[in-house]
Homo-oligomer: 203 residues x 2
C-alpha cells in the first residue's frame, strides 16, 4: 500500500505495530483521526505519552499506580494478610472487577518462560519472599493462568514458599466455567471438576 | 471496568474512542505499550500528532499531500485531461494500488447525506466545476460507491456537469467481482452485468 503523504505513512506504520492492528485498520484509524477535530488526536497522543512516561508502580505489590503505594495496598480495610499472586496487571483488574476478593496482590510482571528468556530473576519473586515475614502474610493465593509457563511459575513459587511453613498456599479453583457446557469442556478440566467437587450445603 | 491509575484510564478512554476499538481492546493496547520500550509510545504519539497538525491538502484535487500540490497532480506523465471523482482519500489509495489508472483525481471529501447534514456545499464540488475549463478536462469518471448517498451525489454531479457538454462523463463499471460466484450476487448487480456485458475480442 502506498500513501500520498509521508505523515500518513508514519502514522499508519506506528499504529500497525500495535497488536491486532494491521495496515488496513491502521489506515482506517488514521483517516478517522484526520476527519475528526484536531483536539481528538492531540488528546489521544497526550494521553498515550503521559501514560507511558508518568506511570509508576506500587513499591509493595508492583501494580500500576499514580502514587508510591497503589490504592489497593493503601486501603486499610482490605485484608493485608492474604496475598493474591498474579502474573500481570490485567489479572488484578479482572479480579478486582469480580468484587469478590478483599485481600491484596502481588504482580510478578510475567511468567517463567525459557523460550522468551524470562527466568525467575526477571520476575518480582524476591520482593514477594521479603514481603511475607514483613507483612505477616498468612495465605498466598496463586492465581496464575494454567498454561505451560504459568504452571512452571506456580511450581517454582510453591517450592520457594516452602521456606514459610506457616503460610497457607492455595490456587484458584479449576472447573467448568459458568454457562459452559460439559460436553465441550476438555478432559482435564472436567476430570478436575469432578475430583474437586464442592459439597452443597443442606437446606 | 475500573483501573488502578488515572493515566491508564485516560489512555484507555482515548483509544476506545477510535472506531472498532472497545475498552477491552484499548486496555490490551495500553498494556502492550506499557510493556514495550518507551520509544514505541513516543514514536506513536508523535506520528499521530504530527500527522494531524501538519497534514495539508492538495489545492487542486484535495488529496492529502505533504506539499501544496500532491504527487499525483505534480506528475507531468499522468493524463491531466482525465479526472476521477472520488468521495474519499481512501478511494484514491485503493485506485492507485490497482496501477490501472493514469489520470488525476478530485476528492469530494464525502457524499451528500441529508441525515448527517452534509449538503453539496460541504463537498469540494465548486472547485471541480472551476477546474474543468481551467485544466481542459475531457473526461470525468464518477467513482463513487453505489450506496444511497453515493448515488445521490453522482446524480447531483452529473446534473451539474451538463454545463460542460464537451466533457465525457463515465462511471466505473458495475458487475460481478473477480472470484465472485454468480449465485451469490444480488439481482441488480447480476442484471447490470448482463445488460452491460463486454464483447470478447476474437482470437
Amino acid at each position: 500500500m502506498e500513501f500520498p503523504s509521508k505523515l500518513i505513512e508514519n502514522a499508519v506504520g506506528e499504529l500497525a505495530k500495535l497488536p491486532g492492528i494491521g495496515r488496513k485498520t491502521a489506515l482506517r484509524l488514521t483517516l478517522h483521526l484526520l476527519k475528526a477535530e484536531t483536539e481528538a488526536t492531540s488528546a489521544l497522543a497526550e494521553a498515550l505519552a503521559k501514560m507511558r512516561f508518568e506511570i509508576t508502580y506500587c513499591q509493595t505489590c508492583h501494580n500500576i499506580s499514580d502514587t508510591e503505594e497503589c490504592s489497593i495496598c493503601a486501603n486499610k480495610l482490605r485484608d493485608h494478610s492474604m496475598v493474591c499472586v498474579v502474573s500481570d496487571i490485567r489479572d488484578v483488574i479482572a479480579i478486582e472487577n469480580t468484587g469478590q476478593y478483599q485481600g491484596v496482590y502481588h504482580v510478578l510482571g510475567g511468567v517463567i518462560s525459557p523460550i522468551e528468556g524470562i527466568g525467575p530473576s526477571d520476575l518480582h519473586i524476591d520482593t514477594l519472599l521479603t514481603r511475607i515475614p514483613e507483612s505477616e502474610i498468612k495465605e498466598i493465593i496463586l492465581a496464575i493462568s494454567p498454561t505451560m509457563e504459568g504452571d512452571t511459575t506456580a511450581f517454582f513459587l510453591s517450592r520457594k514458599l516452602r521456606e514459610f511453613p506457616d503460610v497457607h498456599i492455595s490456587t484458584i479453583a479449576r472447573g467448568i466455567p459458568m454457562g459452559g457446557e460439559l460436553e465441550y469442556a476438555d478432559e482435564i478440566t472436567l476430570g478436575r471438576s469432578i475430583v474437586e467437587r464442592t459439597r452443597q450445603a443442606k437446606a
